[in-house]
Symmetry: C2
Subunit: 340 residues, 2 copies
């Protein structure tokens, strides 16, 4: 599996992207990484990594493709794509389109990534809008939220497609058998919800899915469902509220309880503190697939570190190996035949 | 201040409502509580409380008004209000309408409470839709979210009014000076957000408010704003995600770290654990005001216990004393004069 990685995307690029690539290549022997971006800057980081002697024998598995321009994270996405023809995002998608790579990973400007994927790869036949699916939870148990911000003008048919695509993602890439799919709502009563939710409920009920009905916000972290479908604005708010609250709680924990290990050394306490950190490490699995476009693309948080970026590259490899995009294409085609 | 309390509302009614009333009356000498509901059932709970000898000398400050019917929390709100004429919710609002009480507190069916308030009290002149405002955060610092579920068909003018009303609530009842008001959005870029957000942004920018622009979901718990305005579906999801995640994290904390005090007694550790619990106790302040209706109404979570219910009754008293509803009426009238 050859992954084209946007080396210039993210708050800590290219440093963390290069280090992430080295981690991924070390941990996953079948992986190849093409770093896309300003070659000189990328080489500096590779040399720095080599100087630290942590550089493994990745040989030919790591390569560089030069792209001169960088899309900033606050730039207007479509304007940037129009003005900066030779940017690292567009070039990454181009490598896949030309058959030189199998997947793209980027922590860059999300709007530009979604725009480039849609323009260069096009959509899977039958799918109208792309959606970003994020797997949230602890290491042991994930719930996939979709969409978390690609589409703020959702129609019921978009949400139906998100459910079908995310169900395949959850099954093939995350290992959930016959994933339970739910629709995010604000109450169990049929009378509740807005028109979008009510119409989507009809579609999901008839779809070839293990659809369990609606869930509320508080059900997400109870893992009531494997896939939760919602429109992009709500999904984005939900994701960021979770991140913000989790970060706040963990910061307080470190301030108040975490530092007590230093003044009161105790193996049992140290172990309990480490256990709590592990059990409540709501780290994303590294990358969020952009579902609906005709290829494998994983979007990373702008503030991703080497661990998250490396995990995303490994996940991209699993995606390709498990034929997720092809299975989605077949699933959508089968569903449409059933409809007509 | 005389507060009419729906004694039959909530998962633990009338037990927790009666105990909450006793707490509030004990802690707040100026308060009077009228318990509205099935008199016999309420008396049983009062006698039980007396038998436990925790009953203070509240005398005439606690009274009962009988209502025969109860609206279930899963009933269709408007149907229930139509069929059950003599229910505890309607009777509570009636007591205020007739001048026998100054405010209503209910943990019952939210839709029925909003419906009864709107039908019996009517709206404040100029306000079109009621919104529920919840103060979230720790004891020291609250952020008011509005709306969290009364209105899932929000128009920009509704959100503008929520901003104006919640700002007055935050100032008079929560003590925030010149409250910072923000609009919930999914990115700092102007290009982001949906049409509702973009139009509301225009209105809030021109309003007589300390409007600081947009905030994202992760800014809520950083207390970037004192008031965050959003439409009811998003607000409800946000609130419930916060509740769910916070409950999950705290449960893990108690499981893993909290119990270590028993096996490793240490005053410093016990203190740190208690500090963490206090610092991350994201308890609501007890009741969420229903803003926009012509009177003081506080809505409580269905699962509220005696502490939350008692706090809501005390908050209702503060609301009445601080003339919140009257100030909102004047604020809305002044804003409308400025507009015309």
């Amino acid at each position: 599996m050859r992954v084209a990685v946007d080396a210039m995307g993210g708050d800590h690029a290219p440093l963390e992207v290069v280090r992430g690539a080295i981690r991924a290549l070390t941990e996953e022997a079948e992986l190849n990484v093409v770093l896309v971006g300003r070659e000189a800057e990328i080489r500096v980081e590779i040399e720095a990594a080599k100087a630290e002697a942590e550089f493994p024998a990745v040989g030919e598995r790591l390569s560089i493709v030069h792209a001169e321009q960088v899309v900033g994270c606050d730039e207007n996405p479509l304007e940037a794509l129009r003005k900066k023809k030779d940017n690292s995002i567009v070039k990454s998608f181009g490598l896949v389109a030309e058959g030189h790579a199998d997947a793209v990973v980027s922590a860059g400007n999300t709007g530009a990534v979604v725009g480039a994927a849609t323009l260069i790869w096009r959509m899977i036949p039958g799918i109208r809008r792309a959606g970003i699916a994020v797997a949230v939870g602890t290491k042991d148990q994930h719930t996939v939220l979709v969409d978390v911000g690609a589409n703020v003008h959702c129609k019921p048919i978009h949400l139906l497609h998100y459910g079908i695509m995310a169900s395949i993602f959850a099954e093939l890439a995350l290992g959930h058998k016959n994933p339970k799919v739910a629709l995010l709502n604000i109450g169990a009563e049929e009378a509740k919800g807005n028109p979008l939710v009510k119409e989507t409920m009809q579609l999901l009920t008839k779809a070839p899915l293990n659809f369990i009905g609606s869930v509320e916000g508080n059900d997400i972290f109870d893992h009531r469902a494997d896939v939760v479908v919602c429109e992009g604005f709500v999904g984005n708010v939900m994701l960021k509220v979770s991140e913000g609250l989790s970060a706040t709680l963990h910061a307080r924990f470190e301030d108040i309880v975490g530092k007590i290990v230093k003044t009161h050394p105790s193996p049992a306490l140290a172990e309990a503190i480490a256990d709590f950190r592990r059990a409540t490490d709501y780290a994303e699995i590294g990358g969020a697939p952009l579902l609906g476009v005709n290829g494998t693309c994983l979007i990373c948080h702008g503030r991703s570190d080497r661990r998250a970026l490396g995990n995303a590259m490994k996940l991209a490899g699993r995606f390709v190996k498990a034929n997720v995009v092809q299975t989605i294409q077949e699933g959508v085609a089968a569903h449409q035949e059933g409809e007509s």
